[in-house]
């Protein structure tokens, strides 16, 4: 099969294609630059655009989280709790199974006094200083599935369920906050 010639050397040089490919390269560089800029902005997680809040300022429960997270990459759910939610120096937060499924809690800060499974989720109980006006609890989670992810979190009304798991459905104080995330692969 004969290749195209350049002068008297048979080299297969396709000038038209190479000029076209250079334009493709430049477009590729522009796409790369755009992706890096979007990455810096947090569109792919860990930046300003990724920050989201569920719940209103001043509400008993407000959750700061990343609306864009990444597969198998740790992320944080920061639950801010108001004084009225504290009872006898403790606060209980319910995480629904829809949240925990595909995004298990790796650890909490501070360490939970108890983590009691209930039929529709897990109730984490934390010790808080009685004089505190508010408290913040961090849930370190790690998404195990990619795609859209929705889950609920709420304050637990009343005392936390016993550790033997004998209670039925959690009596979560409505309304539960919805955490909506997009997990990148």
């Amino acid at each position: 099969m004969a290749l195209s010639r350049a002068g008297d050397v048979e080299v297969g040089f396709d000038e038209k294609f190479e000029y076209f490919w250079f334009r493709v390269q430049r477009a590729g560089w522009a796409v790369m630059a755009a992706l890096v800029l979007l990455g810096l902005s947090g569109l792919f997680g860990r930046g300003p655009l990724a920050r989201a809040t569920a719940g209103d300022q001043g509400a008993l429960l407000r959750v700061d989280y990343e609306r864009f997270a990444r597969f198998r990459t740790p992320t944080m759910l920061a639950a801010h709790v108001g004084k009225a939610a504290m009872s006898a120096g403790q606060v209980s937060i319910w995480l629904g199974n829809d949240l925990l499924h595909g995004m298990p809690v790796e650890r909490t800060v501070p360490t939970a006094v108890s983590a009691a499974p209930v039929s529709d989720g897990v109730v984490y109980t934390f010790q808080v200083p009685p004089e505190s006006d508010s408290a913040t609890v961090l849930f370190a989670v790690q998404p195990g599935v990619a795609g859209r992810h929705r889950g609920r979190m709420a304050l637990l009304a009343g005392p936390p369920p016993p550790l033997d798991g004998a209670s039925g459905a959690a009596s979560a104080a409505p309304p539960a906050l919805e955490i909506r995330q997009l997990i990148y692969p």
Partner: protein
Amino acid sequence: MGTIIRAAVAYVVLLSLFRIIGRRAVDHMTPFEMIVIFLVGGMMIQAVVSDDRSLTNGVLAVFTIGLMHVTVAWLKDRSQRFGRVADGTPVVVLGRGEWHPERMRKLRIHTEDVLAAARQNGLEREEQIKYAIVERNGAISIVKAEDPARSATGS
């Protein structure tokens, strides 16, 4: 399954990346290019393997990459157009005494690179070069002039 998909995607991404970056990153391995090669490879390995460090996972990833490689080679064999997209074509940057600066600029090849390739072929001067061709893999091939004076005039 995730490892196989990630390995396949990583292969396509890297192939596209190096075609978009340009040939220079593939050959002429100066420290400048080595940084790109090693960093990119290292980062992609982590993304493919993730936190599964089993032999099974490693073998699946490697076999997927191998299969992708064979598939791309087969496609290049079947389709000249695909071959051009995957590899590009050789580009003549010096022919019969005439430099093509526009082509060199697009390839980010400099006169010094061509002369270095010439020296590797035992040549000492530009007039001894009949053709300098940047190959698909980024290497520069030198066709020696039989007679330096004749190659410059084209006769």
